[in-house]
């Protein structure tokens, strides 16, 4: 157990170290989300009706959740590269904890997610977003985002281990995340969608997480959204972490 902790820390240090030597990666964590916020706020801002809220207030929780979901991409690409470059073989001949390679990756994602979240929030505040919440709720929201992002990193870990190249990890990742985030309450009110889409959006975990964020940060009616979001995160974690670990063993034994 102690081994698992130290090995996990060594691996996440390694993955964060990469940001230092490949600073262009930092752009993905910083400039890209800022660009998204600005595009949505100013291009769609005037056109989308969000009763009860300014569009900027409505938008920010949604775009932050989407951004967090994309945070796991680094894990998918990085793991895929580790398999193809033979690094996984090296790790597997070392007396390290088996789960540490994946746990270290996903832990590193938490750090990068936090970084890009803070940058996004700063941007949002500058262009007019305002909380309707106390410090406790703001922090609870950040905690929920971190949990959800961590759970989603395991989805990407599985993806990265299953596909044959970083390119296909990239396109499959977008293929999964874009519909999930767009057919949700992230960018438009669910009520404005046609029947089938609205039905999907209602049950989409992204909707639940976004609604939970609006409840925490905007004092929107919460319903069960906050607990629902926590449960969804734990379920995603409970399903995808073991799948990814199993897949890791298989991928490494090819």
């Amino acid at each position: 157990m102690r081994r698992l902790v130290t090995d996990t820390l060594v691996i996440s240090e390694r993955n964060l170290g990469r940001l230092r030597t490949a600073p262009d990666l930092l752009i993905a964590f910083t400039v890209q989300p800022v660009m998204f916020v600005l595009l949505f706020a100013f291009v769609f801002g005037g056109a989308i009706q969000t009763p009860g809220y300014d569009y900027i207030d409505f938008l920010i929780p949604g775009i932050i959740v989407q951004n967090i979901a994309f945070g796991g991409f680094v894990t998918a690409l990085g793991l895929n590269e580790d398999v193809s470059k033979g690094l996984i073989d090296r790790f597997r001949t070392l007396p390290m904890a088996r789960a540490a390679v994946l746990a270290g990756r996903t832990l590193a994602d938490v750090a990068t997610n936090l970084l890009s979240l803070l940058i996004l929030l700063a941007t949002a505040l500058i262009i007019g977003f305002s909380f309707d919440a106390g410090v406790g709720e703001i922090l609870a929201g950040i905690g929920l985002l971190m949990l959800f992002g961590y759970a989603f990193s395991w989805v990407f870990a599985l993806l990265g281990l299953m596909v044959s190249s970083p390119e296909s990890a990239n396109s499959l990742g977008f293929l999964a995340v874009f519909p999930l985030t767009f057919i949700s309450s992230a960018f438009v009110p669910v009520e404005s969608m046609p029947g089938g889409l609205a039905w999907f959006a209602e049950i989409n975990p992204f909707t639940i997480v976004v609604d939970a964020m609006r409840a925490l940060w905007l004092d929107a009616p919460a319903g069960d959204a906050v607990w629902g979001a926590v449960v969804w995160s734990l379920v995603i974690l409970a399903v995808f972490a073991p799948l990814a670990v199993r897949r890791y063993r298989l991928a490494a034994a090819r």
Binding site: R14, T21, R90, T93, P95, A253
Partner: protein
């Protein structure tokens, strides 16, 4: 490279259960990938502190064998023990005692050379300071000190291989596996690496290396196992393998190729088999050595054949390989070189 690679006794770390047990013992190992029988009943034994070369052409099963021995693949059939431990049952404990430098360098290109070694050291359970010290020591040994703080993606192919090998040595493993360690190295680096391997072996490390280069096996290995299509087709010391080809080869270069049949007829009584002719060269395996040259000169003179040059040579491992597998090892090298 200096002799500081393994300052402590590598056997110490292993805590051998039974000092008489060989460092590597493989019995009846079979490993298939779908229809391909990559290993088809392999038996191997390597004594502690010995160097075994697994010699074979492309696709022979060398890498598969190394992967089974280093716990990366599980055998389908057979028992495989390394450092007194079973590669399946005791895989976890075994990983503390082995080092692997695979066929393709496995280094993290985004980390510097030093960071790579520190990471590996820490994953072996070393403290950061100790891992750093060991990393610097190895970088110095492998002449990578100047590049220690550069990302490994800026390294040349040979530097990467050296870094990879250094990573395999971080924990001073008592049993070391090297899969084609000198492929892609320039002659100077190759010689340096041979020196390193000899030093390690001299200090008691057991080494199993694979190679397609006969001179490499000849120089480094106590024992050579020739492997082809998943089977060990010959084993022994380099001398034993050469002896299997019988006596020495006599080679005669004639003044005129047209005289080759006459020369062959004249020399035939000296050998058990009919001499081979290729252009103006006639070759034959002779019985014994004493007086051979004198007798050959006399016979050729009597037959009236003009000779430019003649000499005896011991069969090389190339000859051994050719006669065992029916194909030349170098052909496989070329394929590898252009890949």
């Amino acid at each position: 490279m200096t002799t500081t690679l393994v300052p402590s006794d590598p056997q110490e770390a292993a805590v051998p259960d039974n000092p008489d047990e060989p460092a590597i013992s493989v019995r009846g190992l079979v490993k298939s990938f779908g229809d391909v029988r990559a290993l088809d009943g392999v038996d191997l034994e390597v004594a502690r502190g010995a160097v075994l070369a697994l010699l074979g052409p492309n696709g022979a099963g060398k890498t598969t064998a190394v992967r089974v021995l280093t716990t990366l693949l599980e055998p389908d059939v057979g028992t495989v023990r390394v450092a007194g431990l079973d590669v399946v049952r005791d895989a976890g404990a075994l990983r503390e005692r082995i080092g692997l430098a695979g066929q393709y360098a496995a280094v993290d290109e985004n980390l510097t050379g030093l960071e790579n070694l520190v990471m590996v050291g820490r994953l072996y359970g070393m403290r950061r300071a100790a891992a750093r010290e060991r990393g610097l020591e190895l970088l110095a040994d492998f002449e990578l000190m100047d590049a220690a703080r550069r990302p490994a993606k800026t390294y040349s192919g040979g530097m990467r291989r050296r870094l990879d090998l250094a990573a395999a040595l971080v924990a001073r493993p008592p049993v070391l596996f090297l899969d084609e360690p000198t492929t892609g190295l320039d002659p100077r680096s190759r010689l340096a690496l041979w020196g390193t391997i000899e030093t390690l072996a001299g200090e008691g490390t057991t080494v199993l290396l694979t190679t397609q280069y006969l001179d490499e096996a000849d120089r480094l290995a106590d024992t050579i196992a020739v492997i082809d299509r998943g089977k060990v087709i010959a084993r022994g010391t380099s001398d034993e393998l050469k002896d299997r080809l019988g006596g020495e080869r006599l080679e005669v270069r004639l003044a005129e190729a047209a005289a080759a049949p006459v020369a062959a007829r004249a020399l035939a009584p000296m050998s058990d088999e009919w001499p081979t002719t290729a252009g103006a060269t006639v070759g034959l395996t002779v019985r014994g050595r004493d007086g051979t040259i004198v007798e050959a000169v006399r016979r050729l003179d009597e037959a009236g054949v003009g000779v430019l040059d003649l000499g005896l040579r011991r069969p090389t491992l190339d000859d051994v390989f050719l006669s065992l597998t029916g194909h030349v090892a170098e052909a496989a090298d070329d394929e590898e070189g252009t890949a």
